[in-house]
């Protein structure tokens, strides 16, 4: 082996190069290309581009279906943010107060279990429970004296069905984040508060909550990403965005424009809009988080 070959074999770029190339090829270049695509019409057949200026953006912003998807996305966020933060937070505060070790671990294992499933698996399991004629939810309702519901085919209820599934499938993740943050709260801090006569609720709200606020901000961001980026697996299996687009969201709208109607330019414009929203929230987390979060 010549010295040049040996030097090449030891080059750090031989180590780092493939990962850098993959990141550029499958993330950074596509990101730039999506931006470019949003200004043109691209024909897959003729491999040909036509300049369209900002018409995809203006068209999208004027599209009533987009308005519906945007409004539904707001509903998803308004429902899932309090649920995905509040419930895991209450569970985490309670779980660190369970003194027995083994039951505590069993509770954590059970509560996190749905979070390892995928959205489509969670969705078919619930699709069956939502079944209007023989689904177990209507059986349960019947037992307590309520009329059966059509759930996913009821335009007013469908979006809440998707929200229920998304919550069930992902609250465990935030629970883990909060538990890890609470584990880092020094015991002497809560101990001091206890000696000062603070009850468990006062300790949780006044002492622990401010100390774990970075985890809260992170949980907000993950919830936004779930709604904007991941929930599509549940929407597609449960309702296909229906009935009458009443449970559609921005990503499902993108999927329809891009891959049902093959309007890639329009779909790219929607992708840019979604990415801008995610970026705004992430940026707000950094800025707001840094100023208002107690790290020590």
């Amino acid at each position: 082996m010549t010295a040049a070959w040996r030097r090449l074999g030891r080059s750090p770029w031989l180590f780092a190069g493939p990962a850098v190339a993959a990141a550029v090829a499958f993330v950074w270049l596509p990101m730039v290309a999506t931006f470019g695509l949003s200004f043109i019409d691209w024909s897959m057949l003729r491999q040909e581009a036509t300049w369209r200026g900002i018409t995809h953006y203006s068209g999208t912003l004027a599209n009533p279906d987009f308005h519906l998807a945007l409004g539904n996305t707001a509903i998803y966020l308004a429902a899932l943010l309090p649920l995905q933060i509040g419930v895991p937070l209450a569970l985490a505060f309670a779980l660190v107060r369970v003194r027995a070790g083994l039951p505590g671990r069993i509770y954590r294992t059970a509560l996190f279990a749905p979070s390892v499933l995928s959205f489509p698996i969670a969705a078919v399991v619930w699709l069956w429970m939502f079944n209007p004629t023989v689904g177990v939810l209507n059986t349960l309702l019947g037992h307590v004296g309520f009329a059966p519901q059509r759930w996913l085919t009821d335009p007013d209820l469908a979006i809440w069905g998707v929200i229920a599934v998304a919550f069930w499938k992902s609250f465990g993740f935030n629970l883990l984040i909060f538990l890890a943050a609470l584990a880092n709260v020094p015991a002497d801090v809560t101990e001091a508060a206890r000696i000062d006569g603070a009850g468990p609720f006062r300790q949780a709200i006044d002492i622990e909550l401010p100390l774990i606020s970075p985890a809260l901000f992170f949980a907000i961001v993950t919830t936004v990403i779930i709604v904007l980026d991941e929930i599509v697996g549940a929407v597609d299996v449960l309702t296909e965005g229906g009935p009458f687009r009443m449970s559609s969201n921005l990503l499902y709208f993108l999927y329809e424009r891009g891959f049902r109607h093959f309007q890639f330019g329009e779909a790219a414009a929607v992708a840019v809009l979604i990415a801008a929203m995610v970026a705004a929230v992430t940026w707000a987390q950094f800025r707001f988080g840094e100023r208002h979060v107690h790290y020590d």
Partner: protein, 272 residues
């Protein structure tokens, strides 16, 4: 003490509510057709049967979907580790010009929402003739390895420098240092990333849904959707739940076996 009892009661109720949908899937997967179509709240099927699995395999190529899922998840996991291990070693242990820029390029991908890469990657995959192939699903997904690199670099950085100094004096090149010295010391971190990548890849939905077309090319996740929306509507709930169970078993088993690794990886992704 009364407080502790109240806590346990509340948690048992919360766990029952959380696990109920899974228990109901399990019940339906093993229930006979007649048992499925009458309103019941009993969690134990009247006459447990494996018939739903047999029927699922007759209705759809479920075994092929399962193998496809294994191939996709396995290849993505191996691929991510194959490029992330040397890269994170370089970023964590070696010093070279452009390192920080390169590291930023790789780890910065974590902040890019996945939707914005979707359309051009689709056009590229179709153009490369990889539409409706597992390779078309696998190759672009391997590129999303920013978190794996981030996590493994932390593990490499935590190793004492003297370890590598001694090896260097013995004449070990960087590849030998990586494979024989660094790697055996970070197996825990590698296992955590392997499990996390496998779970993520097993659960992929939108991307394989866009790329895979022929029924026998699908993975379980998207096969489930096909199963749920074709055939006799309102009919095959038993076989569908049997298929959902097959899709859930590997990830739940992996979760129970590697709970500590999964939790540590998830939590690190949370406090990054």
């Amino acid at each position: 003490m009364a407080g502790q009892i109240a806590l346990h009661v509340a948690f048992v109720l919360a766990c029952v509510a959380t696990l109920f949908p899974l228990a109901w899937m399990l019940r339906t997967a093993f229930a006979a057709p007649g048992d499925i179509f009458h309103a019941t709240l009993s969690l134990w099927p009247d006459d447990p049967t494996l018939g739903n699995f047999a029927k699922a395999f007759r209705l759809h190529p479920v075994a092929i979907w399962f193998v496809n899922s294994l191939v996709v998840a396995g290849a993505i996991t191996l691929g991510k580790l194959a490029i992330a291990l040397p890269a994170s070693f370089a970023f964590g242990v070696m010093t070279f010009r452009g390192r920080d820029v390169a590291f930023g390029l790789v780890v910065g991908t974590m902040t890019v929402p996945y939707v914005i890469t979707l359309l051009p990657t689709y056009v590229t995959v179709v153009g490369a003739g990889l539409y409706d192939t597992l390779a078309g699903v696998i190759i672009p997904t391997i590129g999303h390895c920013g978190f794996v690199v981030f996590f493994l670099r932390q593990a490499f950085k935590a190793l004492p420098r003297e370890l590598f100094e001694a090896a260097r004096i013995d004449g070990a090149g960087p590849w030998r240092q990586l494979l024989t010295i660094a790697l055996p010391n970070i197996w825990g971190a590698v296992a955590a990333m392997a499990v996390l990548s496998f779970l993520g890849a097993w659960n992929l939905y939108l991307w394989p849904h866009l790329i895979l077309d022929a029924t026998e090319h699908k993975t379980l996740s998207i096969g489930l959707k096909l199963f749920a929306t074709t055939g006799e509507q309102g009919g095959e709930w038993g076989p569908l739940m049997a298929t959902a169970l097959l899709a859930a078993v590997p990830v739940v088993a992996l979760y129970l076996l590697a709970q500590r690794q999964i939790v540590s990886a998830f939590v690190t992704s949370g406090v990054r």
